[in-house]
Amino acid sequence: MRANNILGILYSNSYDASLPELTALRTMGSVPFGGRYRMIDFPLSNMVGSGIGKVGVITKTNYRSLMDHLALGNPWDLSRKNEGMVLLPPFAEAGAGGNQTRMEGLRGASEFLRHSKEEYVIMSDCNVVCNLDYRALFRCHVQSGADLTIAFRRGPAPKLETMRLSLDGGEYPRVTQIRLSGAAEADTAYSLNIFILRKSLLERLIQEAAGRGDADFEREVIRPRLQSLRVHGAEVTDYARVIDSLQSYYDISMELLDPASRQAFFHPGRPIFTKVQDDMPTIYGLGSSVRNCLVADGCQIDGVAENCILSRGVRIEKGARARGCILMQGTYVGADTKLDCVITDKKVFLSSHKTLAGDPKFPVYLGKNIAI
């Protein structure tokens, strides 16, 4: 018995290069975000929340942390006897280098596709912070009669090689033209790289691409077929932000301090699931002062924090002060140390009496395990 007729496919490594600092040791999907999440939690929870019971996760490189995070898929209720979550590591044929592009990744997953009984496929990347009901997109897909539906959003396009769509004016607009780069115009319809299509069509496209050596999904597979296939856009107006750089990672993180964004993002009816860590709740000591902060479990705060995102197990000692910072899991801030606009990766250790300052327009990043 399947919850619905849609198969989920996630690309965990998409756009790793846009965030080299955070993806040096991990996939885009396992980049920490929002105090307790990893980027893959968003599309994965969206899929589960939309009734999808089978998800394949395509990986390319550095996916140890991702495997550790996903394990058997329990937190997302995807540890199933039938269906559930399947990790799809690179499937290298003799002499091939593994999944380098979206098409190669899909080719490696063709066995998985062939054995899946679902009629439709929804594919998504992991660099979009969003809380969406994919069922709405699916309704669009069915009602428009499209062969392929691309979820898009209007606004300044992210600084990535991602599709900018020209659309006709219909109720379910058809994509007439695709550009893959361009200046940041205020009202561009840009792709969120969430695609819906029939599994049979996807399998055909994979086969044709393999035969012709096409590797680029957007450039070589979709764009030449705008006439032969009905490619439609489905506009997303719910909360969705694309991470395209460390700066946008910082800005989008800070948006979570805004009540309206938080409400849209932490939608009570659509919970975001993540790995359970069994930390104790956070303790605020005597003399601590914490304002306008999002704080995960397991922290011990004896100092001052303002406008910060504090992940699990962060310690801020007496006399220390953090402003406008993103402190990831296990960061230690020693007594009387002052931080402004600093992003610390996991387990960064800052001893006492240090001062580090970035700017909201140029946050300082400290890599995993750095000790100062």
Binding site: G34, G35, R36, N74, P75, L257, R262, F266, P271, I272, F273, T274, V276, D278, D279, M280, P281, T282, I283, Y284, G285, L286, G287, S288, S289, V290, R291, N292, C293, L294, V295, A296, D297, G298, Q300, I309, L310
Partner: protein
Amino acid sequence: MQKQECIAMLLAGGQGSRLGVLTKSLAKPAVPYGGKYRIIDFPLSNCVNSGIDTVGVLTQYQPLELNDYLGNGQPWDLDRVNGGVHILSPYQQMKGTEWYKGTANAIYQNIHFIERYDPEYVLILSGDHIYKMDYAKMLDFHKQTQADCTIAMLEVPWEEASRFGLMITGEDYRIREFEEKPKHPRSNQASMGVYVFTWSKLRRYLLDDEANAASSNDFGKDLLPAMHRAGERLFAYPFDGYWKDVGTIDSLWEANLDLLNPKVDLDLSDPDWKIYSRNPASPPHFLAESAVVQNSMIAAGCVVEGLVDFSILFAQVTVEHGAIVRDSILMPGAVVKTGACVQYAIVAENAVIDAGASVGERPESAADLDQWGVSVVGAGVRVAPGAKVPAKAMIERDVPAAKEG
């Protein structure tokens, strides 16, 4: 079933009537504690951390929430192919239907469950206490002393000794005498309600106890004294660490706030002895620009805009702008609205303290300290705008707004 050296039986059927409205619709072991836990998380996590992975949980009073909470035991790593967590409720038998008459009878009725694992030893636990304990060490002690029964023992302050079941032991920790809540205690060695039995012995005494019509079928009152009279080897296992019975409103309130006292020896953040629990998916908590939070513990999903001091906030609690929460425990989903004031209180799950209402009083401002106590607002109760809940009150139904004039 594969043989297990030691299995645990957790007595979780108690009502905990002294917790009043807090156990109206859930069993005492399911009562929330420490921001994200429930009392039963402690014995269960101790079991797993001690290498005991077969636990029978005996339920009787209001089992729904407890059963839901335990589920398949996955949060405690107790979803096992052989063993794991089993919920054991009273059942109908050929000769009739019986509730669990007492603690010993509850185990007696589940002898067949225990025998499936053919254990050498059985650990008897209760779901009433907050403590971290390595049962494996106690089991080693039991083997070393070649005891028939070992009882975990804690030295309590002399002035409190008369509230406990006490043991008088020799230098070798062999138990010479039992004293059940004596007026004039001769010992301060209290039983923690944690027993290790050699199963063959326990089995015999359970059968004898059941055959004795005069017995109240209780471990402390009947079975252990019977073993002692018969000259069996009973030993006390000394434990030193934090241990608290949370059977009353005052002790539950205190045990929660103990977590904020750095001098109290109860570290829940020890990565080598985690306390596991089942938790809903909640985002991190948010402290607003206007929030003033000190000396408090705050769990996931909370939103705090007001003042919180010396308090424990469970998951998804809201403290609105201008609200004051001091010396209090707010259980999951509780809401304290604008300008409301909660002091020395326990507010149960999803209760709403409406704008300008006040709950509880500070002991300093009480007219008569004998009449003062911690206030309790029951689950789902609404305290209307401006209404006042006095000290020591226990509120079961919605409180209407204060009358004009």
